[in-house]
């Protein structure tokens, strides 16, 4: 054993960077931690890899024939695929945000979070780190859903730029929605409860939207809900960007929802985290 140099000047007296820069750097360090943990348990990728594929297959083959016809103009399974894919993108993104709350709920009981709390880093850093790491999961959802859609015959009617915009917008929404999951994750006692509550939120949001079917046959009160539902706006924007058509209103509403979710749920999640000492 060599002598350790305890008498060296304390590392922390170095010129302090601005607080925002430190927050960002520290969040990236913890994002890396979350990514390492994800790669140690590859089964955590099932919900962003196999799930979109299975849903696409089910909706395409089980409902496609009937629902394609319902879209009018002698529509068939292929007609429905075009309509379905942006919708399914919205749903699988919302569903894949469930695991961030679940994981944080399980993770926070472990000793390493007490160490984070005792370090001179921002309180929000562990949460922001988890959300940043989740970017890769949401991005995979988009790539796999659209990629597998291509195998089934889906074609983008616009251009590469619009495709990137659609993916970017959808991922941004998922990153904002993740704060709802984190908040629930801090509030519930067990990971199972987090999943249960998040399902109760995600299912009505995704099915009570324009994701899977033309909304004109729905009762008026439901249409009113569908029209304000953020999933409808994300899906509507993605549909326009991938297939062509007007997108401005839906993109605008999606950004408004992203801002709204962040303004409400970022502080809520942070406060719940701070209280769960």
């Amino acid at each position: 054993m060599t002598a350790v140099t305890f008498d060296a000047p304390p590392a922390r007296v170095r010129a302090q960077r601005p607080a925002q820069v430190r927050l960002l750097r520290n969040s990236l360090v913890l994002a890396k931690r979350n990514l390492i943990k994800l790669t140690r348990t590859p089964e955590q990728f099932i919900d962003v890899t196999l799930q979109p594929i299975i849903f696409l297959l089910l909706f395409y083959y089980v409902f496609g024939g009937a629902l394609g016809g319902a879209l009018g103009h002698g529509g068939d399974r292929h007609t429905y695929l075009e309509f379905l894919l942006p919708g399914l993108l919205g749903q699988t993104l919302a569903m894949s945000s469930i695991s961030i709350g679940q994981n944080m709920n399980a993770d926070i009981e472990k000793g390493v979070f007490d160490r984070f709390r005792a370090l001179p880093i921002g309180r929000a850093v562990p949460l922001i780190g988890a959300v940043v790491a989740d970017f890769f999961r949401y991005f995979s959802v988009c790539v796999i859903t659209i990629g597998f859609g291509y195998i089934l015959g889906f074609r983008i009617q616009t251009n590469a730029l619009a495709l990137l915009a659609a993916i970017g917008l959808a991922v941004c929404f998922a990153l904002a929605f993740a704060w709802v999951s984190l908040w629930i994750g801090m509030k519930m006692r067990t990971p199972g409860a987090v999943q249960g509550v998040m399902m109760l939120i995600v299912m009505p949001l995704t099915f009570g939207s324009n994701a899977f079917i033309n909304t004109s046959t729905m009762p008026g009160w439901l249409q009113a809900f569908v029209n304000v539902n953020p999933i409808s706006h994300v899906v509507g924007a993605a549909r326009g960007l991938l297939l062509g058509g007007p997108v401005a209103a839906n993109v605008g509403w999606t950004f408004a929802w992203i801002a709204g979710l962040l303004v409400v749920f970022f502080p809520l999640a942070l406060r719940a985290y701070a209280r769960r000492a």
């Binding site: 305890f6 590392a11 520290n26 390492i36 943990k37 390493v112 005792a118 370090l119 001179p120 000492a277």
Partner: protein, 323 residues
């Protein structure tokens, strides 16, 4: 600049009905080891969590490295390292990844963090396991990595919450060596433990916790004097001679020896100078001994002496767990 690295007065903390701390004062001089001795549920962990800014006291004040834990938590966090039952490492990361991560969170550059990690891993004899996931470490390796993680930032004050609980005796001695070296450069250590032997081996001062209160505060020798120093335990080869043995030991102790009910008798002794006399008396009386040993009082005996009760087991573990 005060020469007290840790200073707390009148700390109280309740969890619902459970009073975890009922007015605790403690102080540790810079560069010394303060041992906090007490059974499960005595409030040791709660006190450490308050001093490490993880928990807010209901009342009372505390300063660590000169900073108030309530009003300057950021400064306190820059001054401390924390290791123990609760603050551990990430099991899914390797030894190196854990230490580099903490170094980077402490504003080291990646290169500095790697160098510091390598230095600490070497110091704790973990270089071979550096690339292995912490989950696969043995208990002793885990504790060493936990401790290394709390030293990354060269903290002025180090909290060790029961650092050897669950370790076998050989590993415990290794850990003791490490703790002794921590203060050689001026760091201050607060160590909680359930073993008087450990506090005696490491601490400059010992405070004893019971039911959220400090029931003794002394140097190890002062405390041992108070509780009668060492214990001499003798067992006769021939159990029929127990009564003769009892008479002899009673003369040395000035009181009747304690019995474990299976032939072993125990008396307090002031120093080991008395041992040859005891042996001589026994051989004169022709009593062959099967066991003849000197040891420090157990925590149970300490509490019996200090509080006159052995009933500390009635404290539920919940308060410690909740803490």
């Amino acid at each position: 600049m005060t020469d007290l690295a840790i200073e707390a007065t009148g700390l109280t903390k309740s969890f619902g009905e459970t009073k975890a701390l009922a007015g605790v004062d403690l102080a540790a001089r810079t560069g010394t080891v303060l041992g906090v001795l007490g059974p499960n549920g005595a409030g040791k962990t709660t006190a450490v969590r308050i001093l490490a800014t993880l928990l807010r006291a209901d009342s009372g004040t505390a300063r660590v490295n000169g900073f108030d834990v309530r009003t300057q938590p950021g400064k306190v966090r820059e001054s401390i390292g924390l290791t123990g039952q609760f603050a551990s490492v990430d099991e899914d990361l390797t030894g190196t990844q854990n230490l580099v991560m903490i170094g980077q969170l402490l504003e080291l550059t990646k290169r500095e963090a790697k160098a510091r990690a390598a230095e600490l891993l070497d110091w704790f004899n973990l270089t071979e396991a550096a690339g292995k996931v912490a989950k696969t470490y043995s208990g002793g390796m885990r504790r060493r990595l936990d401790l290394a993680a709390s030293l990354v930032g060269r903290p002025a004050v180090i909290f060790l919450d029961e650092p050897t609980t669950g370790l076998d005796p050989a590993k415990r001695e290794d850990m003791w060596d490490v703790v002794r070296r921590l203060t050689s450069d001026g760091s201050t250590v607060l160590l909680t433990t359930q073993y008087l032997e450990e506090a005696d081996a490491l601490a400059d001062e010992i405070i004893v916790f019971d039911h959220g209160r400090v029931i003794a505060n002394d140097t190890p020798s002062g405390l041992k004097h108070k509780i009668g120093g060492q214990r001499l335990k003798v067992r006769a080869m021939d159990l029929a001679r127990e009564e003769d043995l009892r008479d002899i030991l009673a003369k040395f102790a000035g009181r009747s020896p304690d019995s474990d009910g299976r032939g072993a008798l125990t008396i307090p002794v002031d120093s080991d100078a008395v041992l040859p006399d005891v042996l001589a008396r026994l051989s004169e009386a022709g009593i062959a001994v099967e066991e003849f040993s000197l040891h420090l009082p157990s925590l149970d005996e300490v509490f019996f002496t200090l509080t006159g009760t052995r009933s500390f087991d009635d404290v539920t573990r919940e308060s410690e767990v909740a803490a």
